[in-house]
Symmetry: C3
Subunit: 370 residues, 3 copies
Amino acid sequence: MSASPRVIRKSIGNFLEDFVPGALFRHKGGKTVTEGLFTTFTEFSMTTNPLAKNARYARAYGFDGLVCPPGLVMLVAFSQTVEDVSENARANLEYIDMRFGAPVYVGDTLEVETKVLGVIGSRSNPRLGVVHVQSTARKNRGSRDEAVVLTWQRKVQVWKRDESAELHAGTAEPDPIDCELWLPRYEPTRDYKALAHLTNPDTYFEDFEPGTRIEHSRGRTMTSEHIHLTAVLDNTSQVHCNQFMIDLDPEQYVGGELIIFGGIPFVLCLGLSCPNVGDNALADAVYRTGRHSAPLFAGDTVFAATEILARRDHPTREDVGLLDTRLLGHKFVRANAGEPAAEGAPAGWRKVPIFELERSLVVKRRSHYA
Amino acid sequence: MSASPRVIRKSIGNFLEDFVPGALFRHKGGKTVTEGLFTTFTEFSMTTNPLAKNARYARAYGFDGLVCPPGLVMLVAFSQTVEDVSENARANLEYIDMRFGAPVYVGDTLEVETKVLGVIGSRSNPRLGVVHVQSTARKNRGSRDEAVVLTWQRKVQVWKRDESAELHAGTAEPDPIDCELWLPRYEPTRDYKALAHLTNPDTYFEDFEPGTRIEHSRGRTMTSEHIHLTAVLDNTSQVHCNQFMIDLDPEQYVGGELIIFGGIPFVLCLGLSCPNVGDNALADAVYRTGRHSAPLFAGDTVFAATEILARRDHPTREDVGLLDTRLLGHKFVRANAGEPAAEGAPAGWRKVPIFELERSLVVKRRSHYA
Amino acid sequence: MSASPRVIRKSIGNFLEDFVPGALFRHKGGKTVTEGLFTTFTEFSMTTNPLAKNARYARAYGFDGLVCPPGLVMLVAFSQTVEDVSENARANLEYIDMRFGAPVYVGDTLEVETKVLGVIGSRSNPRLGVVHVQSTARKNRGSRDEAVVLTWQRKVQVWKRDESAELHAGTAEPDPIDCELWLPRYEPTRDYKALAHLTNPDTYFEDFEPGTRIEHSRGRTMTSEHIHLTAVLDNTSQVHCNQFMIDLDPEQYVGGELIIFGGIPFVLCLGLSCPNVGDNALADAVYRTGRHSAPLFAGDTVFAATEILARRDHPTREDVGLLDTRLLGHKFVRANAGEPAAEGAPAGWRKVPIFELERSLVVKRRSHYA
């Protein structure tokens, strides 16, 4: 090889000026859920719902086997969109109307498409703008088992490659997506009661009271494990795994250290809430809106709480009800000297909200299951 | 939602006054062994027995496939009992009469029950007492494959919720548990010798000499990985994963840092001993008694030794023998200035015993297998 | 047991004087590829080739299912040889003529043999010498599926146990190994184009230009996770996992800290290069030579580049071509005060090459696949 080869440096991902309303990305890769992926994330997130832990229980309820918890479905699907949509993002602004469809099992392969719904430049910063997208994850494309497993919109703040480039500013209509939540049928001949000891006795639909707030008792300290976890998801965004890039320009990056991928506190909050809210749920139905309000770093301990907003009858089924909640994540940071004592925090600490999610679950009624 | 929702903070786990002799816990969750769980722990523990690594070997011996090593069976089964029995414990005092039954394979689902055998208050500390329990793990309940895989007793020091509460002091008889160690049949038509190169040539029954002590040569440094490993086991005890809780009151917690779950050094000592003691074992039969003698922290390096106590004939089989051993785990800590040189430790260091287990194995005879 | 048992300390692995040219090691253990192992390493390495991520894609190409990426095959096979060949090594000097054969799937069991090809003492250091070996990994021995999956030679610098021991200096001829790269047949009736969006559009055979150098844009910071990853591979070399051993004599060990197992940067460089070089490859064919040029430690960030050396027609197939490349890994370390600015490094940093591999891939032609 010659002494001075021509050097090629490929750009990865799209910048603001690359997005065109109405355009469709068919994302690369795709991902088959292995038992390795399943266990890594189900257990990391501390989920306690036996549907994701106990194959005997899951089959007795009419599922084909262990069921991927909703947080794992979301993480796998979302991560497939990162390179095309948010590799060059500054921040993920909002999750919108995230709806679940078919259950995902070990062995299923997920592939994802994204439609651009909107592009708008920032008024205050000529290098930035907001992209609005609609993404849909399907499993087992081209087979009889093909089904939508998740569809959602999100808004993301994206950098421009070239500050002077023209934008394709504008909007497009979202596609109608046939995404219906699959639930196993209630069959009175099944002996659900014989399995009732495997879940908490006080997390049935009848137990939740709108207007209450449940402070989940457990916390979980994050470590540098987040780098590996993020790689397992094929999320390649460099702010999560390239410390050298940050060392070169620490002021550009919050705190001068690697930021934990937002999907990590997302699933961890779901898991921390599980023993109080989710272990008698048959599924998560929809996340109407969600956002991250502060970054998370290795060493932080994550806590969660759930506000019970409303209880609704299911439109067609008597054995389950719909529970509308707000899931809230927070951490604590040391207060500055002289800072007044803060509400909800021990002396010397300040409570920092990190995550918020409007979450509706399908929860079993005690009258039918226990 | 109203500005001031009613806040609910659910207590998790039982306190000393909640335990009633004779009462039975049917533990929540249950756990299916996936290939993810299998690999994470088998490889972490550095086990070298091909039954847990080489499916061709395991099948040639008459097992259905890769066999969960005894440490993994113990970890999964034990962890199922943590929330009910020891979430509010100060210390695990003793493992007693831990007996293995059927082998556990990938795909098996374990569920566990615990009977309370004794409750006694502490004489010196009115906030503490000791609970004595008997736990049994079964696989694949309700199916043809249902079998006991492990049964054991343990004593655990548990906090009271309310110092003035009355205790249900007393005892109950242990249940008789039908737990027979399953071993594959010896079949002379099988060509065991053709596989003999896959294990160490000097770890057959004939090779062990009572009165010797084997210092296992390898050490393994633990990292903050222990937080993830403990979560993978569904062990939710906060002293292993909630650094914020410790930062709030560091003096209450040994060393002011997260303590590594005792199951971790337990399996690591089993693994470190494996190339010298366990790689020609067909199974571990019983752990008569065991205890942790010092805590382990991230950064510590674990070492192990095995004392050979006795060799016994198997009551019904000529191809194997029973080996009684004492497995000992230790670490080294820096000696204080002026501290005299310690036995068994390099200059400047002190040897700290961390774990002890009376362990009986079923070991192949060279005469039949090599 | 008596108060003073006889203490046994078994030596592990071979020293320079134990190697005899022509001798054969049949390595212990063997290893079945589980979904846990598969996911841990495939995802860690950041590979992007859908053959290793998307079972639908892999099957559509004629594979049986998800395909172990070449780096994982190499790691599993290589690690089986560590105890016998390099547990007592100072350094791995060179990988030579590493050739791939049959594809490896989840469920396959690999077993490895090594022939000693040469032993030579060091002229400058009487405690050291070089061992030259030839290793071959087969899958599913004794079954219809038995096949060679990898064969390679390597040279490794090994310590003597006893400085005065005689060496078995000499050489032996390598065995001829029937190792033919398996490729799925090209079948025009298959709709490859329908899957073309799952890979990068600019990594077909036609896209590579000899004389160019591709700087791969992503970096990956290593953490203490390397200890666990190395254990997962059954690589037991103490310099990767026993910090206490290093603390006892820090000057003997580079940097006074645990060195990351060379297989880790090996697969990480393969993975970092994948989106630009490997995601339209059907297989890696041969690594003619490779070496590590500097150690890697926790905290370092790994980068990679690929030089395109040559494009060659495949001897028998028109749908693919052979691509000869040089894969280069590097990291950056802080420059000393007053050190002149270095080429290829940001101000204040020095670029340190860590790895180099002559690598030939079998790459799909756009004319046939997209």
